[in-house]
């Protein structure tokens, strides 16, 4: 149930975001965004629920809770970083 890890938990003003960071070398196997599978998303959503459940104070002053993805494409020695706010949500 509670297996896995949350990469980043960040608060910015009234927004609380759980961020899944995914990196890929090259594009041969698709983009890093694509690599965040349905199972992974469900896992992150579940972990976020658990994290919040054990820390009720974390929601004080928060109006929005987001699940974000930060995608890192590595090409040789350079990397490109994209931030997708609210990239997915939990539920059925």
């Amino acid at each position: 149930m509670g297996r896995g890890e949350l990469d980043i938990i960040v608060r910015c003003g009234s927004i609380l975001a759980f961020v899944e960071v995914k990196a890929r070398h090259g594009e041969r196997c698709g983009t890093p965004e694509e690599a965040v599978s349905a199972a992974k998303r469900a896992q992150v959503a579940r972990l976020a629920e658990l994290w919040l459940a054990s820390r009720p104070w974390a929601l004080a002053g928060v109006t929005e809770v987001r699940l974000d993805i930060v995608a890192v494409s590595v090409r040789g020695s350079s990397a490109q970083i994209r931030h997708l706010p609210g990239a997915f949500s939990g539920g059925w």
């Binding site: 928060v62 929005e64 987001r66």
Partner: protein, 509 residues
């Protein structure tokens, strides 16, 4: 925050109140629908999300829970898109949705436009009966729903319009439609009996059948005009009453067959399914039952050409609707009833090659092939067919000699309507509407035979070795003939004519 919007679920033609509740909570984002939704309702989440964003509203990242109450009723189809979206907008403070706001239903496209849904008329009627004052639905459904008196109907083209309809307090109201006017304006039938030359005997038989809603079997070689006659039968049936037109529209609306530009079905239906039709196609079926051909032919004509070629199971399935005027389809979770007051018209060739008994061409069928062909029409079903007639080919000479002007359908329809009125007066207490549906007891009580008619019937009973049921059918048809003539009693001539419609055409068992 929590918001509620009223909606409606249909099972068959019956409406059930559904409350759409949306709760938006600050928690890990999720979008969940509960309350026994089927797949189309689950997929509503994707349509609602896109429609909201593409209509210029915000879709905040929170936990959204949609509950469709009552939780034990199965919710099907896409018509909850609009109430879910409206409740969501209200719950997130983006739209006002007061307590006495209208009920809503509609399917959303991804860009926020509203797509028409099926069954709008049945929903509107059900809401009206429950005392709901207003209904918000896709503009394409507004005219159909506006047939319901006393219900304010608001048609919206997009989600934004629907949301604004409430905020402004100046809703886009579709004017109430009057079914009487719609019925009066249209010239409903394109095919007319006057197109058929000759065939006086068959036409008279069909007139009798139309007047009393009797089932007919036409037997004749290919090209003799069986289909042509059957197609024109709706036009000589008594003109549609307002209630009947609404009843037909209800079924067509649920089946999704109502044309967009036509809010009311104004002509009696004519359904001619192919003989390969399955039994559930004919009587209705599916895991969430849909009306079959018998229900689509409600108050009209179900024409079964090549009658013996139909599957036995399909034909046997017709017995209940012919008897009761409705079909009940039972499934594990639901049981729904659709109306099916049909006039059954069957047609067949006398033999596989089609020319048995023809005056000009010789039949080439072997004896046993003919028996095989007709053996499918076993007792119970044939028993429910009151008139059996032969439709012979009309020779070119006869066609040229026949009267230049055949009687138009409207004149015949006036006679059948008068005859039907007499039947209704006689049958008004029994809940039946035509002679064909009288019970044996009603036949004894209501049909008054003059002595000469009774004598003739007794003779026929002896000589033709009729069963009691066959006798009843002869009296029913004779009663219809008397009603067409407008006489209170059944005369010998009426019995004689009735007997002429049950002569066995060659090849029939």
């Amino acid at each position: 925050m929590l918001a509620r919007v009223r909606s409606e679920a249909l099972s068959g033609l019956e409406g059930h109140a559904v409350e759409v509740e949306v709760d938006v909570a600050t928690a890990a984002p999720a979008f969940t629908i509960v309350g026994l939704p089927d797949v189309a309702v689950q997929e509503s989440r994707e349509r609602v999300r896109s429609a909201i964003v593409n209509s210029g509203f915000r879709f905040p990242s929170r936990r959204i829970t949609v509950n469709l109450a009552p939780a034990d009723l199965r919710k099907e189809g896409p018509s909850f898109d609009l109430p879910i979206a409206l409740a969501f907008l209200a719950a997130t403070g983006q739209a006002a949705w007061p307590e006495h706001a209208p009920a809503a239903l509609g399917e959303l496209a991804l860009d926020g436009t509203l797509r028409p849904v099926t069954g709008a008329l049945a929903v509107a009627e059900s809401l009206g009966r429950r005392g709901v004052r207003a209904l918000l639905l896709p503009a394409a459904n507004a005219r159909e729903a506006a047939l319901v008196q006393g219900l304010q109907v608001i048609g919206a083209g997009t989600l934004e319009e629907a949301a604004r309809a409430m905020a402004d307090g100046a809703p886009v109201v579709a004017h109430p439609l009057s079914a009487e006017e719609l019925l009066g304006v249209r010239a409903a039938y394109t095919a007319d009996m006057a197109d058929v030359q000759g065939q006086a005997h068959a036409k008279r038989a069909l007139e009798v059948a139309a007047a009393g809603a009797h089932a007919v079997l036409m037997v004749g070689p290919p090209g003799s005009g069986k289909t042509m006659l059957a197609r024109r039968l709706p036009s000589i049936m008594p003109p549609l009453s307002v209630d009947e037109a609404v009843a037909i529209t209800r079924v067509y609306s649920v089946a999704g067959l109502l044309p967009a530009d036509q809010p009311l079905v104004v002509a009696r239906p004519f359904r001619a399914p192919h003989h390969t039709i399955s039994s559930s196609g004919l009587v209705g079926g599916g895991s969430s039952p849909r009306p079959g051909e018998v229900s689509l032919a409600h108050l009209g004509v179900l024409f079964l050409d090549e009658f013996p070629e139909f599957r036995l199971a399909a034909l046997e399935g017709l017995r209940q609707p012919l008897e009761d005027g409705e079909v009940t389809i039972s499934r594990a979770l639901t049981s729904v009833t659709f109306p099916a007051r049909i006039m059954l018209v069957a047609a067949m060739n006398p033999c596989p090659c089609g020319f048995l008994g023809d005056r000009e061409r010789e039949c080439t069928c072997a004896e046993h092939r003919i028996r095989q062909y007709t053996s499918k029409l076993s007792g119970p079903l044939l028993d429910r067919i009151d008139l059996r007639i032969e439709v012979a080919r009309v020779s070119r000479l006869a066609r040229r000699q026949s009267a230049p002007r055949e009687e138009p359908s409207a004149a015949i329809a006036a006679r059948t309507a008068a005859a039907r009125r007499r039947q209704l007066e006689r049958l008004c207490q029994s809940g039946r509407y035509a002679n064909a549906h009288m019970t044996p007891r009603q036949v004894r009580q209501l049909c008054r035979l003059r002595p000469d008619a009774a004598d003739m019937l007794d003779q026929a009973y002896e000589r033709l070795r009729l069963s009691a049921r066959a006798c009843d059918r002869i009296v029913k048809v004779a009663q219809t003939i008397a009603d067409l003539e407008g006489t209170p009693h059944i005369h010998a001539a009426h019995v004689a004519e009735s007997l002429s419609y049950r002569l066995r055409p060659p090849g029939l068992p």
